[in-house]
Amino acid sequence: MTEDLMFQDQIKDVVREAYSHIETGAGRLAAQQLYLDAELASLPPGAVDWALGVGNPVRHAELRRGEVVLDVGSGGGIDTILAARAVGSSGRAIGLDLLREMGERAERHAKEAGVEAWTEFVTGEMEQIPLPDACIDVVISNGVINLSPRKSRVLAEIRRVLKPGGRLCVADLTVNDELPTELQTSDAAWAG
């Protein structure tokens, strides 16, 4: 129903605009509610400061050594780095983000974390993932699918890039009561 209140392109522009103007993520206080102290202590401070997710998908993804993981909406790279550590250097972790500057930021964090050799960040839209068919073992994502006005398309793209038998493990927001109309049409409430 909310999709009727704002046009899809307008929503996309709002989200892109909002993310390109923020100067930090939710920071350590929010991250402490989602990640273990040991995880946070092992991460570059910048990756923690730039955390914008709503859960900890890596904790639930049952990642194995050697697997190829795609993090859809990788932001500052916190989950991509944790995934890279879980799959090890025989695996690969790929972060996908709409914003090139976010990917560059995540690259710096991955380097600080020492996982850059088997981690890469690509720029692109989750509705059109710039990767070939059936190349990914596990797709993770953290608080990002709700931002898309075309969720079916996002899920179809995730299915396309997953190998047969591949897994999806995402953290995302759900609502059980409809939000007031003023919030449904608020730019910031769409981006957040």
Binding site: H60, A156, R167, N176, L179, G192
Partner: protein, 74 residues
């Protein structure tokens, strides 16, 4: 947050797109105070949430979940 689906609708959408073994768990309430930690929620929006959302709902305006599913092998 305005684009979030109801949990059941989210699970159905995942199934409809061809995934199997859909599992939803680890539900974490996401209230106004938590939203205020995120820079994407501007102060005016947080004020609007406090004004428009009934006080009894403000501690769980949304619920963050973990959704898991598998792409069938066949």
């Amino acid at each position: 947050m305005s684009g979030a689906l109801a949990e059941r609708a989210f699970a159905r959408k995942i199934e409809k797109m061809g995934f199997a073994d859909v599992w939803i768990g680890e539900r974490i309430p996401y209230g106004v105070e938590r939203a205020a930690l995120y820079p994407l929620f501007t102060p005016p929006v947080i004020d609007l949430m406090r004004e428009l959302i009934p006080p009894e709902r403000q501690a769980a305006v949304a619920v963050s979940v973990i959704a898991k599913a598998t792409k069938p092998s066949g």
